[in-house]
């Protein structure tokens, strides 16, 4: 009945040795077929380990997969579908896996008992980090991860369904068939590459045919149904809110190829049916971890499904009837008083010592301590399973399952195949889904007697991977760690990559025995997502490299790039930072030139990234009065006004200008960084705080391309492209004017006479699709004036020279008063933030001022703190900090803006700007923040 195709051999390598398996094998079955016993080493004691299970619960057989230059660690041999050319290697050893030098830890195990670390390595203090910890770190860990980027790709997908069925064993297959026949949209996920679950492993019949054949036929029927999506090799790893399930599909086992290795699915399901089956438990006895000691159900899987001959002289240790299905020469049933007290065989079990004292030579030992329903997904929303004494296992608590989840089959404690089928049909009935068939199969009663631990002097493993033994659990209890959670944390029980699938319940039982309590009294154990580990790469999907975050480009990006711009990230935007000309040796050369050209003639800067919000309605002015500290209702049509916006806590939120295009129409701008938050805030004010106002908002940031044209020749330049019927002379279009115009022969545009640079300046905007054409038209018109395209650096230099606050000053902690704009807060009208801005702590006299170095040759450092003296300065000596600095090409020295206690009252004093971290301390003079054209003559010119 084997499901392996012996006519299809597959060549693979294990630890460099060429071996052969067959199509349908897993790496584990192929290794067993080739007689490989030692596959891996355990975590702490570096004990030789073989294969213990046949599924994703495998704690021992972890390997690295290699391909040219690529390595993937910690793969379970039991879940790798064998493929041609597979290069698998053991991990976590020094030397060879058969002779691991770190196995010395095993000899030192008396020292490495639970909690050992906490009691030692303290003397002398420095030795912990210098000596002990590096040794521990090198010995710990499992596989190695390569240090080059993961070459594999990962995809993501979204699916919706009526019924999600988790697990494709007998329960899941029947439930899927029922739901499919009922016309539901069904998704069936199973982690294996063949559907059928335990039907593939057991020598039983369903409706008179071999169970594996029934599974194959049923799977085929499902795949023919257009409303059923069958997803093999797909593990539902987590349950999230409102019917959202996370699933990981494995597309291939090979690594380093171009196609996606995994697909991470997000499944939105109206109902889910958990049919995840059950996991067999080991029994704790001395040296129960040797290669060749295997779970009984796994032994049946290898024999029946994979056709592997494990040995002809094996023993079986069981506490239940299900275990008795396993074929073994020596049957040891603990219910009959038989037991195993020890085993021998360094690289594979050779004999077992019975409780009678007899030593029995064996070539394998199969153990069954009963079965644990796979309740994991029922716990992901913090549900707790309940102990069932009859079945000796935890069952899902129907009272606290995730909403809309049903649990069927052995996951719900139905252990005979017949009971599994019946539970699937019963659950479907509660969902209004009729049974499509009523298969008949074996209905053996569950006969299990709780049996956990054979107490002897030696070590009996509970958590195999992490090397947690029954003694460790007893010691934890002896030291007062008697809560299950404490035991887990003190001993690391259940913390290994198998997440305690084989160890948690056994550990709980051993703790219960040690503390003389029942299992329910001792506690329960819940599980966190993911069900099986999920690659970090799969969670990231395609969002890596340049696709890590979206990239926003302005309409003139291409033009700037053509001109040789260097771009800077501003949020998701790319903005031109400076535009180098041939012969310029560094960014300062370019920036100085851009500034001097702008101040001397004319410069053009792309300011499209500024947020733009269209405000319209009868109450638009009234609305802006609420949102800004300034009054906007009195602004004349055709005029702009600077506005400062506070948060309700009285702190400056953002600034910008608002232009009034008509009685009922304003355009408000925000800073680039705050475009989103400000719009959200204004919608909050509109919809929630002032719903009675007749006003509407829309963000038009992306709809308009906008350019600043600044410098003494700005008007002359613009006159060349503004259509002649619009008069933009100083008289007709003075400082702070705005209007709707046309340019270049009829193209719709808006013109604002605003200046951030302090020069005669305009901002002109056109619909985004004309942005590229406009920048080219502007630059071409500016040719005769030697117009410079300038970037954000030059913009920043000029705003610092003018003493304008920007992002560094509006850092979410400053008030209008700090910014020197206290006078803007209107005395009479209410606005957001006004009441709380009056709090004493926000009126501390700190204010924005200018700084220049006492010695003009000194540079200024941003982030320096001010102190009155040059000596040691602590918090009490801190007078404030430098928030923005720039070299002023016009003044030919550095200028800075900063906040200082006392603010403008200190102008004329000197203090020290202290940059401790760069060891740069400069005597600075406190001056007015308006360094260039303080009276603002240029911008009105």
């Amino acid at each position: 009945m084997s499901l392996v195709d012996f006519d299809a051999p597959i060549n693979f390598k294990f630890n460099g040795k060429a071996l052969q398996g067959f199509d349908g094998d897993t790496l584990a079955s192929a290794l067993l077929r080739n007689g490989v016993k030692v596959v891996a080493r355990s975590f702490k004691y570096h004990r030789p380990r073989g294969i213990m299970a046949a599924g994703s619960e495998e704690p021992n057989a972890l390997v690295e997969i290699h391909a040219s230059g690529v390595c993937e660690p910690n793969r379970r041999a039991t879940t790798i579908k064998l493929f041609e050319g597979l290069d698998a290697r053991s991990q976590n050893f020094v030397g060879s896996v058969d002779r691991d030098l770190l196995a010395i830890n095993d000899l030192l195990s008396p020292f490495f008992a639970a909690g050992f670390y906490y009691k030692t390595f303290m003397w002398p203090r420095a030795f912990w980090e210098k000596l002990y910890e590096p040794i521990i770190r090198r010995a710990a860990g499992l596989g190695s991860i390569m240090k080059t980027p993961d070459p594999d790709s990962y995809d993501k997908g979204f699916l919706h369904c009526d019924v999600l069925i988790i697990g494709g064993g007998p329960a899941g297959l029947l439930a899927a068939l029922n739901a499919g026949e009922a016309g539901k949209q069904v998704i069936l996920c199973d982690e294996d590459f063949i559907l059928g679950g335990r039907l593939l492993s057991e020598d039983i019949d369903v409706d008179g045919t071999p169970a594996a054949d029934w599974a194959k036929l049923t799977a085929h029927r499902l795949m023919m149904m257009p409303n059923v999506r069958v997803m093999k090799r797909t593990t539902v790893y987590g349950v999230y809110d409102h019917g959202i399930y996370g699933a990981l599909e494995t597309r291939r086992d090979a690594i380093g190829l171009k196609t996606p290795r995994h697909i991470l699915w997000r499944i939105y399901a109206k109902t889910s049916i958990l049919a995840a089956g059950a996991t067999e438990r080991p029994i704790a006895f001395e040296n129960n971890d040797r290669p060749g000691i295997m779970l009984a159900g796994a032994a049946r899987t290898y024999a029946n499904r994979f056709g592997v001959t494990l040995g002809d002289n094996a023993a079986l240790l069981t506490n239940n009837d299900d275990g008795l299905r396993t074929s073994a020469r020596h049957v040891l049933d603990v219910r009959g008083g038989e037991s195993v007290v020890n085993t021998k065989g360094r690289s594979g079990v050779k004999s077992v010592t019975l409780n009678s004292g007899q030593s029995l030579p064996v070539d394998g030992l199969y153990m069954s301590g009963g079965w644990n329903p796979n309740v994991h997904l029922t716990c992901h929303k913090r549900g707790r399973p309940k102990w069932d004494d009859v079945l000796s296992c935890f069952l899902p608590d129907a009272g606290n399952l995730p909403a809309d989840m049903k649990v069927i089959g052995s996951a719900n404690g139905a252990f005979s195949t017949q009971a599994v089928f019946d539970s699937a049909n019963a659950a479907c009935k509660t969902l209004g889904i009729k049974a499509a068939m009523r298969p008949k199969s074996e209905d053996a009663p569950v006969k299990v007697t709780a049996f956990w631990h054979v107490k002897t002097k030696g070590r009996a493993w509970v958590d195999f991977q992490n090397d947690v033994t029954a003694k460790d659990i007893a010691l934890a209890h002896q030291e007062g760690f008697s809560s299950v959670e404490h035991v887990k944390r003190y001993t690391t029980l259940g913390m290994a990559t198998d997440q305690g699938k084989t160890s948690n319940v056994l550990g709980l039982a051993v703790l219960a025995q040690a503390s003389g309590r029942t299992i329910p009294e001792t506690g329960t154990t819940i599980f966190r997502p993911p069900y099986t580990p999920v690659p970090i790469g799969a969670f990231a999907g395609a969002h890596r490299g340049t696709h890590f975050k979206p990239t926003r480009l302005t309409p003139s990006h291409k033009y700037s790039a053509e001109q040789g711009a260097t771009f800077v990230d501003t949020g998701y935007w790319k903005r031109a930072q400076w535009i180098a000309r041939p012969g310029e040796k560094g960014w300062r050369d370019s920036v100085d030139r851009e500034v001097l050209t702008t101040r001397g003639s004319v410069g053009i800067c792309d300011v499209s990234t500024l947020g733009k919000i269209d405000v319209q309605g009868k109450d638009a002015g009234k609305f802006l009065n609420k949102v800004y500290v300034n009054t906007f209702s009195t602004l004349k049509v055709g005029r702009c006004r600077y506005g400062l916006m506070l948060r309700e806590d009285g702190i400056a939120m953002d600034d910008g200008t608002s232009a009034r295009l008509s009685k009922t129409h304003y355009i408000t701008t925000t800073t680039t960084a705050k475009a989103g938050p400000v719009y959200r805030h204004m919608e909050f004010c509109r919809q929630v705080l002032f719903p009675e106002m007749d006003v509407h908002l829309i963000s038009t940031t992306d709809q308009w391309a906008q350019y600043s044209v600044a410098g003494p020749n700005a008007r002359k330049l613009l006159e060349k492209i503004v259509d002649p019927n619009f008069d933009i002379s100083n008289e007709a279009f003075p400082y702070m004017a705005c209007g709707q115009i046309t340019v270049c022969g009829g193209t719709r545009a808006r013109l604002f006479r605003l200046s951030f640079s302090g020069e005669l300046a305009y901002e002109i905007s056109v619909p985004a699709r004309y942005g590229d054409a406009l920048i080219r038209a502007l630059m071409s018109a500016g040719e005769e004036y030697g117009a410079a395209l300038y970037g954000t650096e030059a913009l920043g230099v000029m705003r610092i020279e003018k003493g304008h606050a920007a992002g560094n000053e509006l850092d979410g902690r400053t008030t209008a008063a700090h910014l020197g704009l206290g006078g803007f807060v209107s005395g009479k009208k209410d606005c957001i933030g006004k009441v709380l801005s009056a709090r004493e702590g926000l009126n501390d006299g700190v204010a924005l001022v200018g700084f220049i170095a006492d010695n003009p040759k000194d540079t200024l450092h941003n982030g320096a703190h001010f102190s009155a003296e040059l000596g040691k300065a602590g918090p009490n000596e801190d007078l404030g900090h430098m928030s923005s600095v720039a070299y002023s090409p016009e003044l030919k020295h550095w200028v800075g803006l900063g906040f200082i206690a006392g603010g403008k009252s200190r102008i004329g004093e000197t203090v020290y700007a202290r940059d401790f971290v760069r060891n740069h301390h400069v005597k600075v003079k406190i001056v007015s923040p308006h360094f260039v054209d303080p009276d603002g003559e240029r911008l009105r010119g």
Partner: protein, 416 residues
């Protein structure tokens, strides 16, 4: 029982029979001088310092479940003192100094590992902010090193420097920062407090306060009423629930923060790395797991679990700067309840109810604060004056406009 090299060897050779419980399991007494509600890191540290440093007697710690089961047992184990505002930095630097001598203070190895904490820089404004922060750190006695791109390359060669989106241009390194074995902190403080006579009472939930004429007289618990001279509340994510029993509302919301650990791997990362252009920070535990996290989910929650958008966001950040971790598998994800305050900074203060003291608002940064929080809270309880390093952590600072807002986000807790 003192742990010593001799004792460890002796016990190893004699089957570990001599180890005694790390803390007792006493029955609650009818009355204590000081009752601390909350057997987490902060409550236990408070008990330790009250008993050991401030020589207070007759102290109980009440824990509704098992000690160390809250955020001290479910965090990303990072310790650092790299804050930007004086109100915080002096306090966190005290904490750092207490971490540095924790093992000797407690005779317990909590594996304080000063591997360095590196915050990456990707833009000029970010560098400006980090320089300002570094200078605050140094002014408060902490260590700070500003690295350029080359310096970061030397420190952490395996980062993706030229990642297509946000290239790394530098970093702020605190060499003394690092990680600590989180559970051991709770156990170490519990053991020390217990040895000094503090009753640590597990499975004892506070269910109400006995307040008479504006003075707290005791607490009701699931194990009966307990009289108390002073009651100290240190319950992190449950702050609002407990203080509501005293009729008080707090400037705090409870939010979920998820954290993640990968399967064990051979050593990859020496220290702690924080991505400056995404929401991702990571370190590697002594066991080999990558321990990582990012932002809070952003909605109020007491559920101790989160949702997928943040999981994906965090992993995307990880892949952006460390694209080799694609093949590392996430082993577990979990969520803790964060007591997010209105300015992102904590509160250690008396309340308007005489005898009732409050410690909370730690946001997602409470773990690193554990020693200083315990010391400062103990100082307040013992002397009725705030500790020198915690004078800014008052309850009335919001009313007075004296916020300590590191992120500049204002009264919106999910943005801190």
């Amino acid at each position: 029982m003192k742990y010593s090299g001799f004792k460890v060897i002796k016990e190893a050779l004699t089957g570990h029979k001599g180890w005694k419980p790390v803390w007792r399991k006493p029955e609650p007494k009818p009355a204590y001088d000081i009752v601390i509600i909350g057997g987490g890191g902060h409550g236990l540290a408070t008990a330790h310092y009250l008993a050991k440093k401030y020589k207070q007697k007759n102290i109980a710690v009440l824990e509704k479940g098992w000690i160390g089961g809250g955020n001290v047992g479910r965090n990303t184990t990072i310790v650092r003192s790299n804050y930007g505002l004086h109100g915080n930095e002096g306090f966190y630097e005290l904490s750092m100094q207490l971490w540095e001598r924790l093992e000797q203070d407690l005779n317990y190895n909590a594996m304080v590992s000063q591997r360095g904490v590196l915050n990456l820089i990707h833009s000029d404004p970010q560098r400006d902010a980090f320089v300002r922060r570094a200078n605050t750190m140094i002014m408060n006695g902490a260590d700070a090193v500003l690295l350029d791109a080359k310096g970061v390359r030397e420190h952490s060669p395996l980062l993706n420097f030229d990642n297509g989106r946000f290239p790394i241009t530098g970093g702020l390194l605190q060499p003394r920062g690092g990680t600590v074995r989180h559970d051991a902190v709770a156990w170490g403080y519990a053991r020390s407090a217990d040895s000094a006579g503090v009753d640590i009472i597990e499975n004892c939930e506070a269910t109400g306060f006995d307040i008479q004429a504006g003075t707290v007289m005791g607490v009701q618990t699931s194990r009966g009423p307990i009289k108390a001279g002073k009651v100290a509340v240190a319950v992190a994510g449950n702050s609002s629930r407990v203080m509501a029993m005293a009729g008080r509302r707090l400037p705090i919301e409870s939010h979920v923060l998820q954290a993640f650990v990968s399967e064990g791997l051979k050593p990859l990362l020496p220290g702690v790395i924080t991505f400056g252009a995404g929401h991702f920070y990571v370190s590697q535990s002594d066991k080999g797991g990558l321990v990582f996290g990012g932002d809070i989910d952003g909605y109020n929650s007491y559920a101790q679990r989160g949702n997928l958008p943040v999981v994906e966001d965090v992993c995307e950040g990880g892949m952006a700067i460390m694209p080799m971790i694609g093949k590392a598998r996430m082993l577990r994800m979990w969520g803790g309840i964060m007591d997010m305050s209105m300015d992102g900074s904590p509160i250690i203060d008396r309340t308007d109810i005489s005898g009732l003291y409050f410690n909370g608002g730690w946001c997602y940064g409470g773990f690193k604060a554990t020693p200083a929080s315990g010391l400062a809270f103990a100082h307040l309880l013992a002397t009725d004056t705030p500790h020198d390093t915690a004078t800014a952590f008052t309850l009335d600072r919001f009313e007075r406009g004296l916020m300590i807002d590191e992120k500049g986000q204002g009264a919106q807790p999910n943005l801190h």
